[in-house]
Structures are given as structure tokens and as C-alpha cells.
Symmetry: C2
């Protein structure tokens, strides 16, 4: 049997069975970050993301933006757990004939974003490869009280996104701003029940929240905020790498949020009982679990 048969998520499920964790691990794989005990008031967040030439960016792309994306995706994971990024190590595979100018541009993209978010780049590994591959692993810190996972959504919660969706493939996947600031504002001022960043696509990532929270969701198609570059609603719903955050909160909190922040956060769905599955408003049939968004295999 080939990898493509069970897909990325099947493979992850397959791995999880074999992993044993000790009591210092609050949350292993299956969320945006792993959560590990740290001290009385904080947890450590730990994540990694690999980007590969020809899959996650085109060979001709601006090297600065390649480096920027390599680190931005991990910062976005930390944001999704409501943490602050602190340390990172960077592994890079580069073709032997890569020009120094290109390497400098890539690393500049990494260092600049690290600086912007106060991240210490504390180490790395360099290797020879046929195509450019960059893996960033990142450590963050989150107040115990502020931690938000995918698993806390409750029926009745309203579902919001931090920005407009779609159009990532037209360039925004290389230039997005990780939503650290927004996540900090949200957890400091409201009760947020669950959160995830959109890497696989709005529908796929909302499904991740539904699965981890054991709930269903009704998507308000007409309210989905389209990015100016989005070619269609389908792009906004199903295409990966918007890197906005999806978050859910109780109705009362939502009313307060909408009043305080007019237009900044976009209502997109409502959490319902698990038995209703994941569906569009005014459609009876739940959406099948397959092909909701990007899958690597």
C-alpha cells in the first residue's frame, strides 16, 4: 500500500498509536503545538514545520520570502495556541551550486521575522540537498490560563476568523503576518474556547476543531470574508495556507467582541452538536470528511 492511499492525516493517526508520553507532556501531537510543563504559571509550546522547494514555494520565488515563510508558519502555530514565540533552530538543505546571494536572502528573511517577533535563533543544521528544504522548529511560552487548544469548542460557540480568506496561492502564503498580536488580544480580553491556524484550508481546519472537540459546525457560506485576491468562495473555503486563525467563543463573549472590534474579526460559522456533522447553512447533508482541503499525499 502506498502513502497516498491513507494520506497525511491517516499517517499521523498511524504514528500516534506508537507514541508513549510521560506526565510532563500536557498535549502531544494533534494540535498546532505540543504543550509541555514548564513552571507554576506557564507551559512550553513546541512545534516544527518543513517547507520544500516545488511543494511549498516555486523555485523562482524571491528567496527572502522563502526564508520568511519558513519561520512564519511556525510562529503561526505558536499564535494558534495563544503563546509567544521565544527560540528557534533552523535546518536547511541547499543545493551545492546555490549562490551566496540567494542564501543570504533566505537567511535574511528568516532573521528579519525572528527579530520582529523577538525570537532567538539559537542553532541550526546545514546539509546538501537537491532542492531547497527548510525546517524550523520553535519553542514558545504560554500562560497556563491563556492556553487555547483545538479541543475546547462547545455547541453554541460562534466561530470567527482573524482575517479574509482565499487568495493565498496568489502570493499571500509567502507574505502573511502570523497572528500573534490578535491571539494575545483575544485571550487577554475574552474567553476563547478553541483555536487553530489555517494551514490546510478553512473547512479542513474547522474539521480539525470539530474532531478534537467532538462537535459539529454549521458554516455560514455567505459570511465568509473573501480576500481581494480570492478567485472564488471555494478558494476561501478549501485552499490551504491562509494562516489566519479560526477561533470559537461563547455567544455572549462574541457579542462583546463584535461590539468592541467592529469588522476586525469575521463571524464564519457556529458550533453545533456532533450529530449534525460539519455542514453548510441551508444544506441538509453534512460534508464528507475527505477532500476538504490540502493534503500532502
Amino acid at each position: 500500500m502506498k502513502l497516498s492511499h491513507i494520506g497525511e492525516f491517516g499517517l499521523i493517526q498511524r504514528f500516534k498509536k506508537h507514541i508513549k508520553l510521560d506526565s510532563t507532556v500536557i498535549k502531544g501531537s494533534g494540535d498546532d503545538c505540543a504543550v509541555i510543563k514548564r513552571d507554576k504559571s506557564t507551559y512550553m509550546l513546541y512545534t516544527c514545520d518543513m517547507i520544500i522547494e516545488g511543494v511549498d514555494f516555486k523555485p523562482k520565488e524571491d528567496p527572502y520570502l522563502i526564508g520568511r515563510k519558513a519561520i512564519a508558519v511556525s510562529i503561526s502555530d505558536i499564535a494558534a495556541c495563544a503563546g509567544l514565540p521565544r527560540y528557534a533552530v533552523v535546518s536547511m538543505g541547499l543545493p551545492k551550486n546555490t549562490s551566496l546571494t540567494k542564501v543570504d536572502r533566505i537567511s535574511r528573511g528568516i532573521f528579519d521575522l525572528a527579530k520582529e517577533f523577538n525570537i532567538n535563533i539559537v542553532g541550526g543544521d546545514l546539509s546538501r540537498s537537491q532542492r531547497i528544504v527548510i525546517d524550523v522548529s520553535m519553542l514558545g511560552v504560554v500562560d497556563k490560563k491563556a492556553l487555547v487548544l483545538r479541543s475546547g469548542a462547545k455547541p453554541g460557540d460562534l466561530v470567527f476568523v482573524t482575517g479574509r480568506l482565499g487568495g493565498s496561492i496568489h502570493g499571500r502564503h509567502l507574505k502573511f503576518t502570523p497572528r500573534i498580536k490578535e491571539a494575545q488580544y483575544l485571550v487577554r480580553n475574552y474567553k476563547i474556547n478553541s483555536m487553530i491556524d489555517i494551514s490546510d484550508g478553512f473547512m479542513q481546519d474547522l474539521r480539525h476543531i470539530c474532531e478534537e472537540s467532538k462537535v459539529g459546525a454549521v458554516v455560514f457560506e455567505k459570511l465568509i470574508p473573501l480576500d481581494k485576491d480570492a478567485a472564488s468562495l471555494n478558494e476561501a473555503l478549501f485552499m490551504g495556507e491562509d494562516f489566519e486563525l479560526i477561533f470559537t467563543m461563547p455567544r455572549k463573549e462574541a457579542a462583546r467582541l463584535l461590539k468592541n472590534t467592529r469588522g476586525k474579526f469575521h463571524l464564519a460559522a457556529q458550533i453545533v452538536d456532533k450529530k449534525y456533522g460539519l455542514k453548510f447553512e441551508n444544506k441538509k447533508e453534512p460534508i464528507s470528511g475527505r477532500n476538504l482541503g490540502f493534503n500532502h499525499f
Copy 2:
């Protein structure tokens, strides 16, 4: 200018200039692990290593051993700083047509070694790639008092290795045991001034100790312990991936070590003043800095 012109170590130097670290970072890049403040009595160690098909292992290699190597190299980095490995995240790039059996074997190799060393695999990332690429990032813990870096070697120190050298290319680079146990024994019972693991080759890695400690070294060619698979002394001196530890300690401590552990650790060199450079015993000329061992570019 091409990457191959300045090489892996030149590139690392180039990066280091642009990196700013805050006061929680005890040691950034330039050692086997980064060292970060943790609590009153311990530091956190942080490292990453990427292995790539066709560079670090052959396509036809046993997938179990590929997975095993991917995690073993990071454990070896933690050992070199005298720490204990605790957590890891694993990024994997896999060709679309990879068989499930192969993926299972790779992950089994990772999980088995993780279990043996009590490491929590807390997350990962899966991506599509042309060739197999695995990046493991690892967190460890070390007692402040036990921490050993590359930079502590002193003139007069004797230099030891934890095992026989050479022959790694004949298979041992896939099957080595990271020297966690040995490092723990050493730092608990002796004063160890500096330590490094042999990834680039004995001479190259001894040179890293010399540079970081601002000392020279005289290598006792005739004492270099050859592995049974080593084809030549040159292989033992210059070939990478033995993954034994090189460590240095004061003479008195060395005498005690030799008495207590007869034959387990091998005397290989002596630290001298920086002005003598790095040289072989009975040779007047110091060995030039270039081409001492493995360089990826």
C-alpha cells in the same frame, strides 16, 4: 559566488553575525546544542539535525536504520553537552509513492530509539518531497554543574575518545549508540573541561574544540583507536560520523579515569597552547585548517 566557495563552516560564521540573542540564551549556535536558561539548577539544551537521502544514507538502506539515525544524531548532540534528551519533534519529507511498509519501518526506527532513551516524541510535520528528508529537533535537560561545552579545553588537558574510530561509512553511522551513558558517567565522576561528538571527523571536531577553546592540540597518531571496520588510520582521523565523544580533562583526572576504567576510554591527543596549532606528534608543521574532515559543500 557559490556556497561551495565558503563551505558549511564559512556559511555558519556568516549567519552568526546577524543573530541577536537575549539574556536567557547561555550559548547560541556554535556548540553541539544551544543552552537556554530553565530553572535554578538546570539548563535546557536545544538542537536539530537533518538527514537527506543520497547524502546521509543510501536510497536502498534499511528504512528502520534511516529512522534510527535521524534521531540518534540529535541524541548524540545532547550527549556531547552532558545532558539527557527529553522531547523531540520530527519533520519528514517523503516521496508520494513511498510504501506504507517503508514509512512504518522508518518511524519504527525513530520510535524504538526514542523509547530506549526516554524521549517524548511530541509532534511533527509531514510533507511531500522528491527524496526522503528527516529533520529531528530535540530538547534536553542538563544540570548546570554538569554542562560541558566545546570551549572549556585548557593547555595540559588530555584528550580522549569514548570508542574506536573509523569504519563509520561501512555501516556504523546507521547503527551507533549515542554516548549518553558514557557522558553521564564522565561528568558525574570527573572534571571534564570540554566535549564534542564526532560528526565531521576526529580531526575536524578536535579543531572545533581548539577554536572554541582558543588552544592547540597534539594528536598521538599511534594511539588513535581503530575500529575493526576502519580501512586506514586516515579514515579514523578524517572521516565523519563516528558519533563517539571527544572530551578533554586535566592530567590528574585523566590518570584516575585510566585507572578506573581500563581500556574503555582512549587517549588520543593533548591540548597545548594555541600558538602550536593543531598538529601530529613528531611533526613540526601544524595541519592546515582546510579539508580536515567532512564538509557538506
